[in-house]
Subunit: 487 residues, 2 copies
């Protein structure tokens, strides 16, 4: 443990109590990564504050001594946004799990950051409400982590991201000040720092209290599964559905390889021979859902669907979702290792990008299974490789990076919902110009002049990204035209 | 004209052309205020750039010489956010009126900041789309001004504010750099500076290109007018409607005094003897709108409505809206002068706040007409006075300020949609603590270290607000309990 961290320990104990400070090496090691395990580091010390005052005191202590701190929720992140530092303090919110208020009259909840996403819905459900953002880790992921990463979920298409559901925040700034942003009333004057804070990945401070919007549970939910020969046909159905003015709550697509994986893992029983399955979920008043489900079925048939199933009973709906929900884990059945990528393209560019990913895969010999939120153009390509094969991991990383570049080339984004963290910090110059990055950096320095709040996450640094020239639009060797002989 | 401004003129002419720079005093005077005419100042010089490069060059010139600049759209603002400075450059976007693109596939439009709000809808309408934010000045107000003020409108309840409809921005920062924020793809990584920029009132720079979301035109629109004996009964109907899970696109309320004014001005023919009228608009699929309109009518009757009218034909709907839309101007018929206030309270606090406003009015002898977006708790009290009567304006201003304080006391906000500008900058300490204001100030200084971008707007300054102690929650003499003898 580096000396500057060691020196803080007695004072950290005075703030958080003896049981609120972890110094034992084996225990610290359990915090060495988030769910993106290929980035790992043992934290210098771990603290478990129980409230705002403790968080503020810990951060003030760090600020006073110039020691970095890293905030951590449940550790389910997929971009190494909570990667610890051996020269820093890991501030874990797992003891801040109180739901302060479920305010049905104003349709909101006030919670501590360590509360699990799904626990808000559990508390609101008896009143006929729920918390809409639903990352796939929602049983365990924390609301504070969701705020840090601006998490999405399968139902973003209709309901938006975490940013669309946060009404107010109490935040401990990197200087240790406690600041309140927003509140229950819609729209506050002044700068919308809630927007800037949500998705700031801990670099602007730590949220210690979160006021979220609650959404009324829909009267009816209906799920349609449609099987197509190709992803192109499935993509055409998606475009037709959106063009018809239907706004499904979710539109998910899986390609042949991911269907195969899901079948092997959970016997989901999707239609045999499908080159793509589309899952379209509708919610709202019963009369609407029925009318729209009929439109969706018709448009899927017109786009070439050879089999359609529909369900509005919870068990049947769960059967349809089973394959999709298990897809990531299922891929483990057909490949020893894989990278989950996360990129976004404008919806209209989906067919072209999928073709380019297939070319990339053919050219490199690296298999890519595609699972994605088709409605909002958020791709989750699973790049498969055998980690026992020398050089395979590097080639997979290369393909994975090239997919991001394809997203950028098509006017999209390097992350849809997993965040930047350490993992994609070096890709930011491929998406933003120097003036744009400078604007980000100015905001960061305004709140954190010492650079102690989750350093080296979100924005590229020379230490992290080296001197290698930034990849610019369309310049990636795998993406450039006629680059067929790269491998 | 102060010398520092005079010295810039030849270079401003070189940038914007001779006809793009206004130095004539009479012409400059036409820019002396926005729609809040009691704040006025003649700008040192007015420039009318035609594109991003000219804006950037003007701002760089200002930055180089430390000369302040004030951005201005159509000048329809109601918080003196575009109040000019005699020692500064007024940058008017009225020549930047191109609609670059209506992209129906991705449901968005790319426009210059000087484009009138309603012109986006006109361009999108042939494709079955429209631009949702609808401030009452939408025929003339500019999208750039809407972005600066985060403008709302009667339909915010369902569709949100400008911030909810801006997907991307090209911005000239106070240093004269051109920065791109966001774009057509949903959610970008990095800090959400779009959120911070929208509503920043020109203090973080000037938007030179704006990508907005287009919304599909609803299949059916239906408008219900319900008359009640009291605003309490109308408020109970609003609560019942929201509690039933109906989400109208607009819920507007007018009290007896504003109904009287509207009747005198435009003979709107609202039910005689009404202490309050409620206008509830529903939009969406025809089947929904019909079903919900029936629910709304039933709930209004249950809350005591003595007359209900409904319309879904555009002419009949316009007749219902006529009184509401004319209300502000109509008040001129019953009072020589008035202040339009703009405050927000959580919806559930509306009845209490309306009672307190009535008490305030009775105690001070100042009449207050209430017109408001009841669905989202956004009040627009019209504080009436006779400007020929000595001291009346000051008493009206006092009542108007006390209403804001009531909003704050009830957990609301000092502005719903008109912005802070110069007009409410000194009220900010009543709403935010020193740490909160410090956070705002840090953001501002990060982008504008010289303090040249629309200075003295949005945040309080000692010069503007003097040394008078900030009004804190519940401390206003008119609001404090037992303060009946203030007047």
């Amino acid at each position: 443990m580096p000396e500057p961290v060691r020196a803080l320990i007695p004072r950290l104990r005075a703030i958080c109590g003896d049981d609120g400070v972890i110094t034992d090496t084996a225990q610290r090691r359990t915090y060495e990564s988030d769910a993106l395990t290929y980035h790992a580091a043992v934290p210098g010390v771990v603290v478990l504050p129980t409230g705002t005052e403790q968080v503020a005191a810990v951060v003030r202590l760090c600020a006073e001594h110039g020691v970095p701190f890293v905030p951590r929720g449940a550790g389910t992140g997929l971009s190494a946004g909570a990667l610890p530092r051996d020269d820093g303090v890991l501030v874990t919110t797992s003891r801040m799990r109180r739901i302060h208020e479920i305010d049905i009259d104003n349709a909101c909840a006030v919670v501590e950051p360590g509360v699990a996403n799904l626990d808000i819905t559990r508390a609101a459900a008896p009143h006929g409400y729920y918390y809409a953002p639903d990352p796939s880790s929602q049983q365990v992921c924390s609301v504070g982590g969701n705020v840090a990463e601006n998490s999405g979920g399968a139902h973003c298409l209709k309901y938006g991201f975490t940013a669309n559901h946060v009404l107010g925040l109490e935040v401990v700034t990197p200087g240790g000040e406690v600041v309140r942003l927003g509140g229950k009333a819609p729209e506050a004057p002044g700068y919308d720092l809630i927007g800037a804070f949500v998705g700031s990945e801990g670099t602007l401070g730590i949220a210690t209290e979160i006021t979220v919007r609650l959404t009324r549970a829909p009267e009816r939910v209906s799920t349609v599964l449609a099987a197509f020969a190709t992803t192109d046909a499935g993509g055409a159905a998606v475009s037709a559905i959106i063009a018809a003015g239907v706004l499904p709550s979710a539109v998910e697509m899986m390609d042949a390889l991911s269907i195969e994986a899901a079948e092997q893992a959970v016997a989901c029983g999707y239609p045999k021979g499908a080159g793509a399955v589309l899952i379209v979920e509708l919610d709202g008043p019963a009369s609407d859902v029925e009318a729209y489900a009929a439109v969706v079925e018709r448009l899927c048939r017109e786009a070439g669907a050879f089999e359609i199933r529909a369900a509005d009973d919870p068990d049947e709906r769960a059967r349809i979702w089973k394959g999709r929900k298990s897809a990531f884990a299922a891929v483990g059945r057909i490949s020893p290792a894989y990278i989950v990528q996360d990129g976004v393209v404008p919806r209209t560019a989906l067919p072209d990008v999928l073709r380019r990913i297939a070319e990339l895969s053919a050219r490199s010999g690296i298999r890519v299974a595609n699972v994605f939120h088709a409605g909002d153009g958020n791709l989750h390509p699973l790049v498969l490789f055998d980690d026992a094969e020398p050089g395979a991991a590097e080639r997979a990383a290369e393909v994975s990076g090239a997919i991001l570049d394809l997203c950028i080339e098509h006017g999209g984004s390097i992350t849809g919902e997993h965040g930047v963290g350490v993992d994609k910090a070096c890709h930011m110059p491929a998406m933003f110009g120097p003036s744009d990055l400078d604007a980000f950096d100015r905001l960061r320095r305004a709140f954190d002049p010492q650079g102690i709040a989750n350093p080296e996450k979100l924005l590229p640094t020379p230490r992290l990204c080296g001197e290698r020239p930034a990849v610019r639009k369309g310049e990636h060797p795998l993406v450039a035209e006629g680059a067929g002989d790269v491998f």
